[in-house]
């Protein structure tokens, strides 16, 4: 028996060595969005973990919960996450609360300017607190076959869009247009390109709320006019319903996000594969502008593995890795990746995506954006459901936005 003792002893020593502090320290916890963007980062994270012999834990959270988990972690400085993936409108709030670490070096010039802009704090400064990982910006989806069939002009102006929606609706017996007008983010996201195209904006040059302006009211009137060509009940629609109508071939046009492009061309998901074309936002009085919705990577101040975390985010956003992420379905944030001939051949929407992304505008860079978007979205949704007039909706929204700003002075 005595002769057999060294084996368990050796095993125990080896196990203890395996659990030593050094090995335990080589780990990274990453919070990602549960969706195509997050699964791409998840795959990259495991690859990085193997390369650096580091244990990687990826926490996938649905969009609605991701912000609250990250916000709570950053506020209470728990250090639960070493890297966080965040939607760009969340950035001003999270960075203003002092929860994010400044980048050790400036991002290179290959990143698109619109994507880099939302990683700076203060906005417009040269200080970076995040790196752009997913180059999301809205695109205009439309049925090219029906536009050709009825010889309709390109949907490059909103008045053409309205005319085409009425024509297609009457002749094809499908909905000419479909949009999101559920309260909060959905209604605001679909309204912003109209607001900007009609020459309006959320704030004026002095930073005061400006949604009761003539331009803004006119933009909302136009949205409601477009809504007459949309399926009934669109005032409660979110991305799922909009995309379901496009995929089923029951609607001809919509504003949508690049994550849905692959499904539109997939015959197992779409009844109209290859019939949908992707274009930049239509214009009106001002040139068409899409809303930016980039996903960023940042390192919380409380992370106890900052060096490894920065190593990972620079690695995940370099050109080689971004090529792989693009192959897996993520819109890139680098010009060189968008212009790669192989990828352009594979992803036909890349030129339109690049054009839209270059012209895209971020949502106002205020820490109160979530609250403002909610109040504004409720008014927009009420107007679209017919509960109140566009004038009343915009005056109500203007008042509420002013109250939010006053409360947070």
């Amino acid at each position: 028996m005595a002769g057999r003792r060294p084996a368990p002893l050796l095993l125990s020593i080896l196990l203890l060595a395996g659990c030593s502090r050094d090995a335990a320290d080589k780990s990274l916890t990453i919070a990602v969005n549960a969706g195509v963007e997050g699964s791409t980062l998840k795959a990259a994270a495991h690859e990085w973990g193997e390369l650096r012999s580091t244990r990687v834990d990826v926490v996938e959270l649905p969009y609605a919960n991701l912000f609250e988990k990250e916000s709570l972690d950053l506020q209470s400085r728990t250090g639960a996450y070493d890297v966080i993936m965040l939607d760009d409108p969340w950035f001003p709030k999270l960075v203003a609360e002092g929860g994010l670490t400044q980048l050790p070096r400036e991002p290179d010039g290959d990143f698109l300017a619109s994507c880099l802009a939302v990683c700076r704090h203060p906005f417009g400064s040269k200080t970076f607190y995040a790196l752009p990982y997913v180059g999301n910006s809205q695109l205009f989806f439309y049925r090219k076959d029906l536009f050709e069939k009825y010889k309709l002009g390109a949907p490059d102006r909103w008045e053409n869009v309205l005319r085409a929606a009425r024509t297609i609706g009457e002749r094809e017996k499908i909905y000419g247009y479909v949009m999101r007008a559920a309260p909060g983010n959905p209604a605001v996201a679909d309204f912003m390109p109209l607001l900007w195209a009609f020459g309006g904006d959320i704030f004026d040059a002095r930073g005061q709320p400006n949604v009761a302006s003539t331009e803004a009211i006119e933009a909302l009137r136009f949205m409601i006019e477009l809504g007459k060509s949309a399926p009934p009940g669109y005032a409660g629609f979110n991305a799922d319903e909009v995309s379901a109508h496009l995929l089923q071939g029951t609607a001809a046009m919509s504003i949508n996000w690049p994550a849905w492009i692959a499904a539109m061309d997939d015959p197992s998901k779409s009844k109209v594969p290859d019939k949908i074309e992707f274009a930049p936002m239509p214009s009106a009085r001002a040139p068409g502008v899409a809303e930016l919705g980039a996903w960023l990577l940042a390192v919380p101040v409380a992370s106890s593995h900052r060096d490894a975390a920065f190593d990972f985010i620079y690695w995940a956003t370099d050109a080689r890795q971004m090529m792989q992420a693009a192959e897996r379905g993520n819109p890139p944030t680098r010009r060189s990746v968008f212009q790669s001939p192989d990828l352009v051949k594979k992803f036909r929407a890349f030129p339109a995506q690049l054009a839209a992304l270059e012209a895209a505008r971020p949502r106002p860079r205020t820490p109160q954006w979530n609250e403002i978007e909610n109040a504004f979205g409720v008014s927009l949704s009420q107007a679209n459901s017919g509960a109140i007039s566009p004038e009343v909706a915009m005056q109500q929204a203007n008042r509420e936005i002013a109250d939010i700003l006053d409360r947070n002075k």
Partner: protein, 293 residues
């Protein structure tokens, strides 16, 4: 006094100081203090604090916050309509099944099925059912010859509240059925037989004999359900997110947004405290009404 007498007196004093019952309830009190009383006190503290220190600003804001007023009104509307429908349907089903001679167990399992689903799953199922274009409900109505062009259920300004209430009624009527059914089975047969011998018909027996004997069960069911209804969150979050506009916004939804989307924990705590007061008042009112009758 001898030594043993002094020891006995000391023991008696000790026993008098710590009532024996207290030792037995101490673990439960500790759990209550940790899980309920401390969080409640902490909630009150947060509601009276901002970054500058003590404040009553959060409570003052409640008086002129239109959205909170709307949410309170809609929560009360939702709770009262759903509670009434669930109680009446649950009672009717319980009486019906109780009167059956055979097959009670099978029918009971069938009726209880919706309650066994997690509310989130039930809400997702109903979201698909309510879809105006592709949903089963409008599909069936179209088959029956109805024009469903403007029947948008959860997206309609007038139909949204009705739609979310119907989902609650579908899921939670079985709760009343279960409790009231158990209550009916516990009623002794003698008073009912005596009433019938005295010539009372079904309706008279129900109102004068069965209902008074069922009152404690009814009160318990109404109390438990009304507290749940006033806290409604999950179904509405999945079905409408409070929309269209704010047509289905409830207190819990508004508190959730204020705390976790806008990071305004002080105001959310003040609203939570008021919501707790509303729930307690509603429960107290309900108990008083039931006792009076």
């Amino acid at each position: 006094m001898s030594a043993w007498q002094m020891t006995a007196v000391r023991e008696m004093r000790k026993t008098r100081r710590i009532p024996p019952g207290l030792i037995w309830v101490a673990p439960a009190l500790l759990v209550l203090a940790t899980l309920s009383i401390y969080p409640l006190l902490y909630l009150i503290k947060v509601s009276l604090t901002d970054i500058h220190g003590f404040t009553i600003a959060h409570y003052a804001r409640l008086f002129h916050d239109r959205s909170f007023g709307v949410a309170v009104g809609q929560t009360l509307l939702y709770a009262s309509v759903a509670l009434t429908l669930e109680f009446l349907l649950g009672l009717a089903l319980a009486l019906l099944v109780d009167s059956l001679a055979r097959g009670r167990a099978l029918i009971r399992v069938g009726i209880l099925a919706p309650m066994l689903l997690p509310p989130v799953v039930a809400a997702v199922i109903w979201r698909l059912i309510y879809n105006p274009e592709f949903g089963v409900l409008n599909g069936m109505l179209r088959q029956l010859g109805f024009n469903t062009a403007n029947l948008t259920w959860t997206s309609g300004r007038l139909t949204a509240m009705l739609s979310v209430i119907l989902v609650d009624v579908w899921e939670w009527t079985p709760f009343f059925f279960l409790l009231l059914g158990a209550g009916l089975q516990a009623i002794p047969a003698e008073p009912i037989e005596a009433a019938r011998v005295d010539g009372a018909g079904y309706w008279r027996t129900l109102m004068d004999v069965i209902m008074p004997l069922l009152k404690p069960t009814i009160l318990l069911a109404l109390l438990l359900r009304s507290m749940d209804l006033l806290r409604i969150f999950d179904q509405i979050f999945i079905l409408t997110q409070g929309g269209p506009g704010s047509a289905t916004e409830t207190i819990s939804l508004y508190i959730y947004r204020t705390a976790f989307r806008f990071s305004n924990f002080g105001y959310a705590a003040a609203m939570s405290f008021i919501a707790l007061m509303i729930t307690m008042l509603a429960a107290r009112g309900l108990m008083r009404v039931m006792k009076l009758r």
